[in-house]
Structure formats: structure tokens, C-alpha cells
Amino acid sequence: MPDTALLSVDDLQVHFPVRSGVFQRQSATVKAVDGVSFSIKRGETLSLVGESGCGKSTTGLALLGLVKPTGGRVRFDGAEIGSFRRRDLKDYRRRVQIVFQDPFSSLNPRRRVRDAIRVALDIHGVGSRAERDAEVAQLMARVGLRPDQADNFPHQFSGGQRQRIGIARALALKPDIIVCDEPVSALDVSVQAQILNLLADLQRDLGIAYLFISHDLGVVEHISHRVAVMYLGKIVEIAPKALLFAAPTHPYTTMLTRAAPTLDPRHRHSFSPSSDDVPSAINKPSGCPFHTRCPLATEVCKTTEPALTERPDGRLAACHHR
Amino acid sequence: MNKLLLLTTAIVALGLGPATVTLAQDKAIVIGTDVDAGTLDPRLTRDTTAYRAADLIYAGLVHLTSKLEAVPDLAESWESPDPQTYIFKLRPDLKFSDGSPLTADDVVYTYESVINPDFNAPDRALYSPISAIEAVDPQTVKFTLSAPYAPLLSYLDKGIVSKAAVEAGKDPATDPIGAGPMVLSAWNRGSDIVLKANPSYWGGAPEVTDVTVKIIGDNSARAQAFEAGDLDVIQSPLSPNDIARLKADDRFGNVITAGLGVTYINYNTKDPVLADPGMRQAFSMLIDQNSIVNDIYQGVDEIASSIILPSSWAYSPDIKQPTFSVEGAVAKFNELGWKDSDGDGILDKDGKKLTVTLSTHSEDPNRVQSVELTQALMQSAGVDAQVQITDWPSFSTNYVQKGLHQIALLGWLNIVDPDRLLFGQLSTGGSTNWGGYSNPEVDKLLQEGRSSLDQAARAKAYQAAATILASDLPYFIISDQGYQLFYKKPFPVEVQATPRGNFRGLIGMDE
């Protein structure tokens, strides 16, 4: 991919050891993220979608260094993160931020909202104290909160308002990219709409790129430019939104889109009631990780892992059969 | 919740009546005591329980009566051809409890190990004048002394161990074989020592067939256990208030008599403040003997007037220490130049305040109370008195025995002979002279008292020394300790108590 990318991830791996025995030797590995590559352009929204445990959140946390990657490279604005010294890392942290899913645990219950937002400015020593307070007021206004609420504690806010505070905190350092880790999953649909609109506005006005992590295909379809589908630590398909939803290539993508309710009682799905569970990340299936659930699976899928390859329409998919 | 518990327990107990189960009719007694024996080797005994248990398991050459007279035990008779020689004749056919014969060799073996420095016998000092012990024949033992040593006989009640058994690897400490009236049947450490009558004792088996010595550390708990019927006998040390109560209880018989111990003040004569006998006299006048003896000790002890026990043959009522008088003490201090010149309520001299530290050990609450009282009285006389209370090892071995104290409250037990309190402690350079007292005249009198074999001469020497000490005051004797023994009535045998607390008088053995 050309160097137009703001952030590019190459073969990212996050493995967690499973220890056992008398001396707690490593006996197995959970490959939570197992060779993920993608890139995000300035002002673009790339969504990571998949079911719980597929590694999408871990990927986001690894990008921010909140979990330690086991392997792979991250390039930001042309420079490789692995080589960053402390000072550069601090700069990187200014430019890459995160918004969490749970609006309750994402704010320190004992700190006032003003402090929660200003902390970013404090850490990076931006401006004078008064300037920072003024900036906090501006940020609050920007995300749709009344600046006079700055001295309140988090418990005095509703879930949606807290999510706005979280966004304001992430915005404080004027980042280039925000990792949104399921930012609307915990919210009621009306509030979800408010936040999605806010995120769209911010992107439009500030040119921020999003890595948008979600399990909700509807939300993903709404907000993304491109979508990457993850399954058991790997990306199985990555494509522009329209292409992906109009005609999924990977059988897993198909399965996901078919599983989403229709919102049209006259065109109901006939869901199969039979059980079909995601295999555990510790005992990943050999070959194509999806073969245990795939309607197209053949012998080759059990033995050989398909590579993520480019298809004629420009998308990437990892399947032997499509 | 505790109340609820109490109630349930109460109901349970009520339904089933009194808890104590009386078992056999054969003559068995349970004696309560304060410490467990550390060893049952008579040569190494340190604590009272070990000493008393060993006294039953073993027999010595002599036996001390309740009047502290030496009477024959294993020895049938003895003679002293000269002041430095003693010859003992053993009884015929003596046997250890394992059936082996007891001969002069065993006696020699026992005493040789006691005087051997490497054996580390705690009371070796008492035997240091012995220069040689020989077995003249299997029934005759000869002691040779380096100097005349009058108290010797009262120390020769030490139990005789079996040489053969020890050399065969039996440790007398845990596996005692003696020739005493009883044998060890079980020793549950920390809990009890169980003894049974020994039919092979030369005097025949005692009337009481079973003795259990039960260890209950806390004085009050022991008294309560006695009242609850778990024990047949308890004796000193006891809390004064328990004594008063038990005395009034007609379920119990008692023996209350003068003991063999004193409670005293040890002045460090090396201390600049206390070097002057006048100062020691002044301080001694601040000790309220009456309150200590009659209130704190509730009259179980007697007010002491001199360093010689009233029960001793050396006692003289004419020797008097200073008596309690705060005014007298203040006058004395003033006379010696200590005045409250700055009006802060504390006496001073040459710009220095009159400060002393009173100390004792924490284990004995009566001593602690005595020190508290004395401290308050000293304060009232303008002495800035501090109190230091620590546990026994810190107090004795790390403080008093190193001469670091100023005014220490202590006790001394088992004074079977005046020599035992005086010689080592108050003669110049004496091995236990922690207060550093030195007076050549006293030295001379003490030496005389120990080497003269004539009791009248000894008494005269000790009285002369005591007179000097009563005004020189390296020690101020507060009280002569009493001895108390309580027993449950009816008791299977006639109780014959000895102030040493030995058990032979409780098992029906005549003296």
C-alpha cells in the first residue's frame, strides 16, 4: 500500500501465554491477535467487526500500547512505532487516542469532569492552567455538554453524557486518529444515534480518522468507509463498505450479515435454531479457522490456512472457495 | 451473641450436673503449680517444679525438715572429723527404682558432675568449697573441703542419680531413675507430671500412691481451678486477694507460715546518686513497707526489719532499718544538700535534679504495684522518680546483673542459710554483687559466718553484719515472704508443709 496511510499495521500479533504446572511454565498460547494487517488514511473510518473474542478490541489496545504486541509492526505517519524513544512515544500518544465502550468504568468516579478532560493537557503541559481550563470548556461545548457542568462528578451524568466526556478527553490533544472501542454498544438506541452523529460531525470538522471497533453491523455500515471482518484473531475480509455489504465474499461475512435482524416484519429471516458456537481461541481449528462452521468447507480448509488475497474488485479476502 | 452462647452452654451444663468426676478412692492427689519442670535431672534443676518433682523421684544424702534441719535420708549417719572433712555412711541395700543398687560411686558421680564447670549446674556456686569427693567403700563417701563451709549440710539434699543408667545413655532429665519415694509415670510437657509411689524406696512406699503435678501458669487461674475442685493442693506463689478468700473458705485447710524469701530493694552503690549511704537511707524512708505488705500483699508477708529472716537462728529483733517517713526523707535529702532551689517541686543540687529510676520485672504484679506506689511517694518527696518495667530476662540478665540499675525491686528465695543471701551478694567482688557494694568489715563478718562451725558464733557474725547493712543499706529489705499452702478437705494424709514447698510432706511421709 502506498504511503498515503496515516497508520499502518503489519502482521500484528498479540499472544497471551497460558501457564500451568509447578513452575508455571508456558503450556499453551492464546493467539488473540494473530497476524493482522491493515492501514487507515487521514480522515477515514475503518471498522473492525466480529464477534466477541475475535481479537478486535485487543487489536485496538495493542495499537495504543495498552497491551504489549508480541510481534508485527505499526507505522504512524511514516515512522515505525517500535523504534520510538520515550519522547516520540509521548508524541504518538498525543496523536492516537481511544474511546472506550463502558461509559461507567471509563471515568474515574472520584475526579471531577474538568479534571478528567484536562488531564491530557496537564500531562503534555499544554498552555497555562487558565488556558487549559478554557480549552476544557471548549471541548465540552464541542461534544455537546454544558461547560458549567465541568465541576460535576461522573455519577451525575447519564451514560450518553459520559460517553461525550470520554470523547472530549480523547479530543483534548487534537489527535489524528481515535480508536473507538465499541463506543455505542452500551447505549440505548436514541443515545447511540446522538453519539454516532457526534462522531460523524467531528470527523467532518476535524478530519479525524477512526478505527471503529464494533460487533453491530448496522452501526458499522452506517459509519465506516471501509470494513475489516475479524474471526479468531485474523482478518478474513477487508473491503470498502458498499462492496462488503452488497456482496460479502467470505462465508463468515455472509453469515454475519444474514444473522442481523431485518427490521422488516414482512421479510423475516428464518433463523436456524440449531447450535453453532465459535471455537475457543486456545484450541483454534487447524487450517481455515472458520472451517468448523463454514457451509462451503472442504478437506483443504481443514489443513491449509487460506491467505488474505486481493480479489478482482480490489477487496481482500481469505477463503479457498470464493 | 455471647449472651446467647452463655445461655446455651448453661442449659447444656445444667442438664448434666457438676462437671468434676471423682474417680478412684486410692490415695491420689493433684497439686497445682506455676511452672513446668525444665528438667528432671536433680543436678540441673532450676525451677521450683523441677526441684520439687526431683525431690520425690530422687533421694539425697540428707533430707531437710520443715525447720530446715538436715536429717538422714540415703545417708544413715555422718561425721565431720575436722571442719574440712565430712564422711557419710549410706544405708545398706539401697536400690534405684530400676532395681539396681545405689552405692557410694553414684554419690561421687553425682557431686563430681555438679562441681564440674563444664556441666553447667546452676547452683554450682553453692558447692564450690568442695575440693574432692571419694568413695571410701561402697557405703562410705568422703567430702573434702577447701575451707570450712558451714552451710554445706543443708545443700546435700541433692538427689543422687544412677551412674550406671546415665552412662548407659539414659538422660535423667527426661528419663529419671532415682531412689526417692516416687517414680515418674508420665510427663506431658506444659501440662502435668504424673508420679507413682516407689515401693523400693528405703523407707517404704508413701501413703499417697499417685501424685499429679498440674501446671497452671496464672496464679489466679490456679486458685480458681483449686476452688472449682480441679486441684487438691495449691501453694505460693498466690495472689494476696486469693489467699484472703481461700483462707476464709472452710472447704479448705491451710498452712500459712513464714517463708524463706525476702522482697528487697537493691541499690546500686556504684551509682553517683546512691553512692552515699545517707542517700540510700533517705530513699529507704520513702518505702511504705506498711502499705506494701498490708495492702498490696494483703498481709501475707511480714514487714522486714533486717536482712536476716525472723525464722532464722541468726535473727535478732534489735536490728532495725530506717522506717517510712516522707518528712524524714526530705529532711535527710536537705541535709545532704538536695533542695528545691528552683521551685519546680523537684529537689536539686549543683544544678542537677534528683532523678532516679525504679525498676522491677513485669511478671509479678505485686512488685509492679509496689514500685508504682513507691514512685508516687518519691514524687511527693520531690524526687523525679521514673519507672522501668520489663520482662524478667531483660530486667535481670540485661540490667540488674550488669549493674545498670539504680533502684531495683527484687526477691530472693530459698534462704535456707543466711550465707545464701549474704555471701555472694554483699561481699566485695561477690559473684552476684550486682550493686557493687563493698565494705571490708562486712566482708570479714560474712567470711566468718560461713566458715565457723559453731552456730552461736555464726549468729553473732551475721548479726554484726546485719547491723552494719541496716544503716549502710546496699539492700533495703521490704518484707519477709510468707508461705501459704491450701489443701482440699478431707485430705488423704496429714499435711506437713515446709516453707520450701516440697511435696514430701503431702504424701504421708514422716520426716
Binding site: - | L5, T9, A13, P122, D123, A221, A228, S394
Partner: protein, 326 residues
């Protein structure tokens, strides 16, 4: 599972080493000379010096510590300075009494604590609840030795229902005796242990009852309790089978810690009730500066403490299927 047990046992080694070193260091600094205490006040300085040499007290500290570890490696706890017996034998003779006392106290505490805690939780806000919790507050606030003396005064001295002090036959022997037709021996043992065990248990019972109540109230709010009601189960069954089992899980881990506290409290209780256990021994060993004995006791306590906690953790895994030991 086995690996877990082995690992936990191995973790005991650094703990034991740490405790030995700390004990050793402390006792090195404690004033008071065991040799002088041993020989008594009539001993002369030369005698004391001689004994110190014999006991090796004059060796430099590292030699003594090294020697101790060396001896320990050979499974030897050394000999008591004061009691003419090996430390292991002395402790062995005492440990049964203390464990018996602590176990009975723990059983009492658990029985009382759980019963009262459940009653209080099920009748939250009622008079039972208020009274129980008030008693629990008093229970944790009462100095154990004061309670012990009051119990002794009331039941042994005033009422003369229970023996004031001492121990009957060891409980196991007593049970054997009872089985072979002499129940009075067991009865005697039980009567002897009641007061000390009660004094020792009061505090823990209070703590456990409060914990059970809190835990029970929390569990009663859990979704699965609602599910149980939704199945149509009656209240007693829901409380006992569904709520109590889960509510006891946190109690279990506290019981392990309480056992440590009981062992600590045993010192005072044993002194008051003349219970011939490790507690009394501990106090006398400390007050005699009997270093090898103190070391042995400390190690024993550590071992008991660690083992009890291990057992508790294993039990936890047994009753809570969610817990995986590994």
C-alpha cells in the same frame, strides 16, 4: 491440581526462610541472655560465660544462622535451651492441644456465625437482625482475655458447671475411649474445652456472622436466586440450597485467615485456661529467650497457617466449580 499443591508448598520455603531470618534477627536484638536466665540469679558471671560457650551463643550471628539452616536441612529443629528435649518433641507434645482448641473454636465460630448470619440476613431489618448484629459488634469489640476470665468466673467459679482450667484427655483419644464404652472420658474432654473454645471463638463467630449476613444479602439479590423463585421453589429451599451455598464461598476464604487469628488468640486463652498448647509454650519460650524453641514454634505456626490456607483454597475449588487451580 497436584502441580498447584506442589507449587503452593514450594512457596512455603521462601516464607519459612523469611520468617526464620526475621525471628533470628529480632531475637538477636532482644535484650536478655538465655544462659543467664537458665542458670538463675545465683550463677556467677564465669558460669554464665561458660554456658554461653557451650550453647554456642558467642558465635557470630552468621555462623549461628548458618548452623541453624544446616540443621534444618537435616530435618532437625534443634534442642530447647530450657527444656531438656528436642524442639520437635516439645512442639509435638503441645501442638495437638492447640490444634484441637483452634479447630473446636473454629467449628463453634462457624456454626454460630453462619446460623446467626443467615437468620439476620433472611430477617433483614427485624429484631433478630438487630440483636444479632449488636451481639456481633460486642463480640468483635471484647478483648479475648477479658471474655475468657468472665466466662471462667461465671461458669467455673460461680456456677461450678464447667472445669475452670486444663484439658481432658486429647479429643481423639477421648472419642476412642467413648467408642470403647467409656463416654465419661469424652464428656470430660468436651467440658474442659468448652470455655476456652468459646472464649476463643467469640470474636471469629462475630466476624463470620457479619460476613455471612453481608454475603447472604448480596447473594439473595443475585439473578440466580430470582431464577430459583421463578422455578416455583419455596423460600426455605431457595435460601438453603441456592443462596447459602453461594454465600458461604467468601466465608470459606475468611475462615482460613481466621484460623491464623485463632492461633494468635490461643496464646492468651491458653494462658488463662491453662490449656497445655503451643500458645503457653510460645509465651514461655519468648520470656525465656529460648531461641531454638521460638524458631521451631514460628516455623510450626507458619506451616499450619500455610497448610490451612492451602486446604481452604482446595476446598474452595471443590465447592465452587468456577475456581480452577493451576
Amino acid at each position: 491440581m497436584l502441580a498447584y499443591v506442589i507449587r503452593r508448598l514450594l512457596l512455603l520455603i521462601p516464607m519459612a526462610v523469611g520468617m526464620i531470618v526475621v525471628t533470628f534477627g529480632l531475637l538477636l536484638l532482644v535484650p536478655g541472655d538465655p544462659a543467664a536466665v537458665l542458670l538463675g540469679p545465683e550463677a556467677s558471671p564465669e558460669m554464665i560465660a561458660n554456658l554461653r560457650r557451650t550453647l554456642g551463643l558467642d558465635d557470630p550471628w552468621y555462623v549461628r544462622l548458618g548452623a541453624y539452616f544446616w540443621q534444618l536441612l537435616h530435618g532437625d529443629l534443634g534442642r530447647s535451651i530450657f527444656q531438656s528435649a528436642p524442639v520437635s518433641e516439645i512442639i509435638g507434645g503441645r501442638i495437638g492441644a492447640t490444634i484441637e482448641l483452634a479447630v473446636v473454636a473454629l467449628l463453634l465460630a462457624t456454626l454460630i456465625g453462619v446460623t446467626l448470619g443467615v437468620l439476620a440476613a433472611v430477617r433483614q431489618g427485624s429484631l433478630i437482625d438487630t440483636v444479632t448484629m449488636l451481639l456481633a459488634q460486642l463480640g468483635v469489640s471484647m478483648p479475648v482475655y477479658w471474655l475468657g476470665l468472665l466466662l471462667m468466673l461465671g461458669f467455673a467459679v460461680q456456677l461450678n458447671w464447667l472445669p475452670a482450667i486444663g484439658r481432658g484427655a486429647p479429643m481423639l483419644d477421648a472419642i476412642v475411649a467413648a467408642l470403647s464404652g467409656r463416654p465419661q472420658v469424652l464428656w470430660d474432654s468436651i467440658l474442659h474445652i468448652l470455655l476456652p473454645a468459646l472464649a476463643l471463638a467469640a470474636n471469629s463467630a462475630a466476624i463470620i456472622s457479619r460476613l455471612v449476613r453481608t454475603s447472604m444479602l448480596e447473594v439473595l439479590r443475585e439473578d440466580f436466586v430470582r431464577t430459583a423463585y421463578a422455578k416455583g421453589l419455596r423460600r426455605p429451599r431457595v435460601v438453603v440450597r441456592h443462596a447459602l451455598r453461594n454465600a458461604l464461598l467468601p466465608v470459606l476464604s475468611v475462615i482460613g485467615l481466621r484460623f491464623g487469628a485463632l492461633l494468635g488468640g490461643a496464646v492468651l486463652v491458653e494462658m488463662i485456661f491453662a490449656w497445655p498448647g503451643l500458645g503457653q509454650l510460645t509465651f514461655s519460650a519468648v520470656s525465656q529467650r529460648d531461641l531454638p524453641l521460638i524458631q521451631g514454634i514460628v516455623l510450626t505456626f507458619a506451616l499450619i497457617f500455610a497448610l490451612v490456607n492451602l486446604v481452604v483454597d482446595l476446598l474452595y475449588a471443590l465447592v465452587d466449580p468456577r475456581v480452577r487451580l493451576g
